[in-house]
């Protein structure tokens, strides 16, 4: 049996962030890649995205307190 885990109810939506958006994010929090949480390049949730290290991934989570909450992780080599 096989299924796409990204379609699973409990897996939040992962998407790549464009360069412009990435720069905006970095400016908003006054950070560099170093301060961002990481996500492994071969994490099953982003395997389909084929993201290169350094790409920022946007995660849209359903939040019990805020409705939808955004989280950002930078792709890292394992």
């Amino acid at each position: 049996m096989s299924f796409t885990i990204t379609k699973h109810l409990l897996v939040p939506k992962h998407s790549k962030v464009s360069d412009a958006e990435k720069q905006k994010l970095f400016a908003a929090y006054a950070i560099t890649e170093k301060e961002l949480p990481k996500i492994l390049k071969d994490d099953p949730a982003i395997a389909a995205l084929e993201a290169e290290p350094g790409t920022v991934i946007k995660i849209e989570r359903n939040s019990p307190t805020a409705g939808v909450a955004f989280y950002y992780r930078v792709v890292a080599n394992g």
Binding site: E35, P37, T65, A66, A69
Partner: protein
């Protein structure tokens, strides 16, 4: 000369541990100790004695001969003595024994073939490189135990004799005693390479474990104390060192005089004993060295080791001055932010106050009363920092010299700032700032309303108490930790304190049903601190609500619900509808209190809470409120009704069991037949209890128990139902009781009995009394609940500790993100919604109210 006025920052990259060589010991020493005498006739330290001034100073006024510094500046310096004969260091007996056993008596090589030794050495180096020092030590230990059982030297082919260690420190080779000199000579001959296999780092020699010189610790670590009689009392270490020096001298003299070998041996043994007990006075085979009084000397290792040694007692177990600990008890009459302090404690703990022009007379009065009269003072500190004890003798002198700039350490008085704490300190409300209230008797008193944040009760709980000593500390405590600033929990945004017990019951009855005569109302309000009765309606008969409303601020508006669900409405400070119960006054729920806090501030909220509590208690004590067995009475018809419900349920249960045995029972999806039966029975029995409880509740008189259950001050409907109607099914791990004997719960039942009664259904109530088997089932679940809490508390405590330690340096940044100490982002928005929970009500923002206020 070392000066300590400028801090030097250096990073320690590594530390080496090893042995001092005799040469190093002599080189480190500033003095050679040659005489056991300590002081000359004038009481001046003797040169070459144990208190030699080159070893540091312990007398005020004297200067160290080595570094030229005064007392407290000079760190102390080591000295040494030359031992007449070598002695073995007690802590190195084991390695010396290993070395003797594993090396050749004749050629001193390790008892291991050449190539094997080489291989092991390579292996050792590899282990330490790859796995670190600890692994190397383990490997060495394994090797040493492996190769000591050879009887022939692989190098010179000589036969080896067996070496025996007679504890604590004598070595025998074929029943001939090896003197430390012989042992040392053997160790000297072992090559540097071989020694590495025993775990010695290069540069260290095994013969250094047999001491020829002994370092003398600085006098600063063994200061003598001057007794009140003026007599000097020396430290245990100095006593021990005195013994060593004395015996050493006698040994020297005897050797020089050519005394018989027996005498020399005896003295040598004695020297060995003294040196051994100097290091460790708890060697199991040796009688410990004692004072003349019989008290055991505390020498080097007992200073460090064990529970009252330096590490666990002084370094890991810091004690705080100006603190106290005692049992707590309740006092609903002191205010929320006060703490009742026993007089005895108030006279021991002090607050330093600096004498100024303006408070001179005030502080003089404290000094005049002295330490024995409250409120007095225990010490004064002169401008030069010297502390003087106030006693009957010194009082007059102190009073004449007391001047601006002196500091008086006066007793604790009402209104002083103090910190109050109960362990485990799990959240910030576990340590709060209180105002001191000095009271008689011997316990700390606290307002029962603050039990909740401390999680305290009065079954013997003890609490800690601290008195801040500086203005900064007091200001910090008052601003950040005062009880009223801690009212709203940062965890759920509601008040952690509130009315409890009688405070709730009283207000509930007052607002529900009481009609008071005007004098009664005035009396009540006066008791809880109201002095202005202008807001009390000018009538002879007053409604309870009208009385309650006097406490509320005149411009307060609130709307909410009470526990029964009806609307609570307060308009312009008048309670127009609804009852005051737990939903409005209680802790962790009180929405009315929460709103007061928001609009009128912490101090007002705390004060109002105190008044409301007192009003409730006063109402109850005037009205009377008590509970009795007759409160549990039910009319005969109701009793019969309950019996009928129970009988029906039992019949239903039996029918289910019959259907099960006949195989007619249909299983629920995903369940076995047995599970289905159990579930169905449980369902039936639970329904029975609820039904009989409801029937009973309808008939129970308006007793104290029901009032308390209704307003939420104590107990619930289930408790009343269990007292009046039926206790109900006892459950272990969500199942009916099935433990005990084979196929049955108790020997009183038949095997395989699945009926309600045989599986823990208690059909009696607490008033009628339980049957023996019912009582037993009740005890089973009771014990289980007790075990559960006993086992869960430490587990969850540890879990919490790990969480709080892992998150302790996370903080919310100015941009609303949560970051760790290095600025790395943990959350992009605090709590994902940016909400400060303590600014919410139960985690939610009351948008409606905010809009109302904006208008």
């Amino acid at each position: 000369m070392i000066t300590m006025d400028r801090p030097v920052h250096k990073k320690i990259s590594r530390m080496d541990f090893g042995l001092f060589s005799p040469k190093q010991i002599a080189a480190l020493a500033t003095a050679k100790v040659v005489t056991p005498e300590l002081y000359d006739q004038e009481g001046y330290p003797v040169d070459g004695g144990l208190m030699d001034l080159r070893l540091g100073v312990i007398d005020p006024g004297l200067r160290c001969k080595t570094c030229g510094q005064k007392l407290k500046e000079c760190p102390g310096h080591f000295g040494y003595i030359e031992l007449a004969r070598p002695v073995i260091h007690i802590n190195f007996v084991r390695p010396v024994f290993d070395l003797l056993k594993s090396t050749c008596k004749y050629c001193s090589r390790i008892l291991m073939p050449e190539e094997k030794a080489k291989r092991y050495l390579v292996l050792l180096n590899k282990v330490s490189e790859e796995e670190g020092f600890e692994a190397r030590r383990r490997k060495v230990k394994a090797l040493v135990t492996k190769f000591k059982v050879k009887d022939k030297c692989p190098h010179c082919q000589e036969k080896q004799e067996k070496i025996r260690l007679e504890k604590p420190y004598s070595f025998y080779e074929s029943d001939i005693r090896l003197s430390p000199i012989e042992v040392r000579a053997r160790l000297e001959k072992v090559s540097d390479e071989d020694v590495q296999l025993f775990g010695f780092a290069s540069g260290f020699r095994p013969e250094w474990m047999i001491m020829t010189v002994l370092p003398i610790p600085p006098v600063t670590i063994r200061p003598s104390i001057t007794l009140e009689s003026g007599e000097r009392s020396e430290d245990d270490l100095t006593h021990k060192l005195g013994d060593i020096v004395r015996i050493n001298q006698r040994l020297f003299e005897n050797i020089n005089a050519g005394a018989p070998e027996v005498i020399i041996e005896d003295l040598w043994d004695l020297l060995q004993y003294h040196v051994t007990t100097f290091f460790n006075n708890e060697v199991s085979q040796l009688p410990p060295a004692r004072h003349r009084g019989g008290q055991i000397l505390k020498t080097l290792s007992s200073r460090i080791k064990s529970k009252d040694g330096r590490i666990r007692y002084n370094l890991a177990g810091k004690r705080t001055d100006f603190s106290a600990r005692t049992v707590i008890s309740p006092d609903p009459l002191i205010s929320l932010n006060e703490v009742g302090v026993p007089l005895a404690i108030a006279m021991n703990l002090t607050v330093p106050e600096r004498v100024t022009e303006w408070n001179k007379a005030h502080l003089r009065a404290f000094v005049e009363r002295g330490p024995l009269l409250y409120p007095g003072a225990n010490y004064v500190i002169k401008p030069d920092g010297r502390r003087k004890t106030i006693t009957a003798e010194t009082k007059d002198e102190i009073l004449t010299e007391l001047e601006t700039g002196y500091i008086v350490e006066r007793h604790l008085i009402d209104g002083d700032t103090a910190l109050f704490n109960r362990q485990p300190s799990l959240h910030r409300m576990s340590m709060m700032c209180h105002r001191v209230k000095v009271l008689p008797a011997r316990t700390f008193r606290l307002n029962p309303a603050v039990c909740n944040p401390y999680n305290a009760d009065f079954d013997g709980d003890e609490m800690n108490f601290h008195v801040p000593q500086t203005e900064e500390a007091r200001a910090e405590a008052e601003v950040l930790m005062l009880v009223e600033t801690q009212l709203i929990s940062p965890r759920y945004g509601l008040s952690v304190v509130g009315c409890i017990h009688d405070g709730i019951t009283g207000n509930y009855l007052l607002t529900k049903e009481l009609i008071l005569q005007r004098p009664e109302a005035i009396d009540l309000l006066y008791t809880c601190g109201v002095r202005d009765f202008s807001r009390l309606p000018n009538k002879e008969k007053l409604d309870g609500r009208e009385v309650f409303s006097v406490l509320l601020p005149a411009d307060f508006n609130f709307s909410g619900t009470d526990r029964s669900g009806s609307e609570v409405r307060i308009k312009n400070g008048v309670l127009t509808s609804g009852l005051m119960d737990k939903a409005n006054l209680g802790q962790e729920s009180g929405l009315m209190l929460r709103n007061i806090y928001e609009t009128y501030g912490p101090a007002y909220a705390a004060e109002l809470l105190g008044k409301i509590s007192k009003l409730g208690i006063a109402v109850l004590s005037r009205r009377g409120f008590s509970i009795g067995v007759s409160d549990m009475d039910l009319p005969a018809e109701t009793k019969a009704e309950i019996q009928r419900i129970i009988a029906e349920a039992e019949k239903e249960t039996l029918a289910l069991i019959d259907r099960f045995h006949e195989g007619k029972l249909e299983s629920l999806p995903g369940r076995t037949l047995v599970e289905t039966l159990e579930l169905r029975i449980m369902e039936v029995l639970n329904k029975t209890r609820n039904k009989s409880g409801d029937v009973a509740m309808k008939q129970v008189r308006d007793s104290a128990a029901t009032v308390m259950a209704r307003c939420g001050s104590r107990g619930n409907v289930l408790n009343i139902a269990q007292m009046t109607a039926i206790v109900g099914q006892q459950a272990l791990r969500g199942k009916r009781i099935e433990h005990g004997f084979r196929g049955r719960t108790l020997s009183y039942f038949k095997r395989g009995d699945l009926s309600a009664t045989a599986r823990g259904f208690i059909k009696n109530n607490f008033k009628s009394g339980l049957r023996p088997h019912e009582y037993f089932f009740g005890a089973m679940t009771g014990r289980d609940a007790l075990m559960d809490t006993a086992l869960r508390t430490p587990k969850s405590g540890y879990l919490y500790r790990r969480l709080s330690n892992a998150m302790q340096d996370l903080k919310v940044d100015y941009d609303g993100s949560v970051r760790d100490a290095s600025g790395k982002i943990v959350q992009f928005a605090y709590g994902e919604d940016h909400l400060d929970v303590s600014k919410t009500k139960g985690g939610e923002l009351d948008v409606k109210k905010i809009v109302e206020q904006m208008e």
